[in-house]
Amino acid sequence: MTADRVIEIASLNKSFGDFQVLTNVDLNVSLGERIVICGPSGSGKSTLIRCVNGLEQYDSGSITVDGISLSEPGGVDRVRAEVGMVFQQFNLFPHLSVIDNLTLGPMKARGLSRKDAEAQAMEYLERVKIPEQARKRPRDLSGGQQQRVAIARSLCMKPKIMLFDEPTSALDPEMISEVLDVMVELARDGMTMLVVTHEMGFARKVADRMVFMDGGEIVETGTPAEVFEAPKTQRFKTFLDKILQH
């Protein structure tokens, strides 16, 4: 185990009833590394990153995040404190204003005062370029704005690692880039990121490593340059041909 290795996933197995979603998945992530996970739907990529912060349980294998094993008592809570997550459906709290969405975690889980939490929230809203929306309800924002609020909400917890579960899949095409821009900036700042996405342009720009999953297994990994030039497996090649043809 090297010092800068923040996520270690070893021989992870999971099944939903008879259906094996993850089969012997091994993946190590170093501090500051950006990993893009892609694959056809049902390949287990979302399930994999949801296992990392304990939203899904696994049957066997091990996950260690920043030296904390998910299986140790209280491990899940400690890991969640280090890991932020952005969902496909944003999952903002609809009954709270944007700023209250951002301050809830810091105030209740970290014990920040309202004043400090709001100051910090405004800082992150500026980073995602929507400070003027702070007092609005999520439903009054566009999808792209909502997803940026969701990113800011995660950042307010000062995570070491960010997980993105298809963050642009529920967005109208013209809003995808505003969310990706925020993610690119986050990557430039050195955030460790695990991103499940089909945005290959984004992958090319920021990914240190691409992980291709199919049928619950990691089929191929490599740098974007390697895999886009010459995918080693036929399955990855077929997949790339399908999503890149238009």
Partner: protein
């Protein structure tokens, strides 16, 4: 509109009944407000309001608290945590109110005494305990359906920003669920108001008991029970009105 409609129906019914009084089959004199005897009878009957309201309010508050305590473990992913909640709901829901009332009022003190906790249960608390327990199985199910109607992503998002289970419930899930839970809970309140009439059989001096007692002395069941029904109607209409107002205030009548 519908509220005015209800009031007109009510007035019409009163007039019809009053009109019947002339032919000798009705004896409205027992509750005629223009005579001293009628007045004192009316005051006696109306005097049950406070007890009925007290019973219903306390029982509803207890039922809502108990229901939540039963509902929360009922939604656990752990089967063994879920089990007691399911058993409680199925068991309580299966017992008719009246037998439960008898059991609580006559039986529970004996059970408690044999366990070394001698307590006395008067009619008031006997009725409240029974109404609250009996109703809690239904409120528990209302909470469950309301909470489960909130998308799972809300819980996941709350947990990933570091909230504990109880913080997630308190700050994220319940504030959203309450608008969906409120209308059916209000229904339960009205249900309790009506079921509180059963307290009369163990001697609780509420609306129905008062009417029964007057019937025994005056022997005019038709008129007295008619007034009794109108008393409940007024009470329920007032509650309905209040609930509509509360729903509007909390936005339960909106789609979101």
């Amino acid at each position: 509109m519908t509220r005015f409609f209800k009031i007109w129906i009510l007035l019409g019914a009163c007039l019809f009944l009053a009109a019947c009084s002339g032919d000798g089959t009705w004896g409205w004199y027992v509750i005629d407000p223009s005579t001293p005897a009628g007045q004192s009878n009316i005051w006696f009957l109306v005097g049950g309001f406070w007890a009925t309201i007290q019973l219903s309010l306390i029982a509803t508050v207890l039922s809502m608290t108990l229901g939540l305590l039963v509902a929360l473990p009922g939604m656990s992913s752990n089967r063994w945590v879920r089990l007691p909640s399911r058993v409680y709901i199925e068991f309580v829901r299966a017992i008719p109110l009246l037998p439960m009332l008898f059991w609580v009022f006559y039986g529970l003190p004996v059970v408690m005494k044999s366990l070394g906790f001698p307590i006395t249960i008067d009619a008031f608390w006997g009725a409240i305990i029974t109404l609250a327990i009996s109703d809690s199985a239904f409120t528990a199910e209302i909470y469950r359906s309301g909470i489960q109607s909130i998308p799972k992503g809300q819980t996941e998002a709350a947990r990933t920003v570091g909230l504990t289970y109880s913080q997630t419930m308190r700050y994220v899930i319940l504030p959203q669920a309450i608008r969906r839970i409120l209308p059916p809970l209000a229904n339960q309140f009205i249900y309790i108001v009506k079921m509180s009439a059963f307290a009369s059989v163990i001697g609780m001096q509420e609306l129905t008991r008062r009417a029964n007692e007057l019937v025994v002395t005056e022997y005019r069941p038709l008129e007295i029970y008619t007034l009794l029904i109108l008393e409940y109607l007024v009470l329920v209409l007032i509650i309905s009105f209040f609930v509509r107002w509360l729903e509007r205030k909390m936005g339960s009548d909106e789609n979101r």
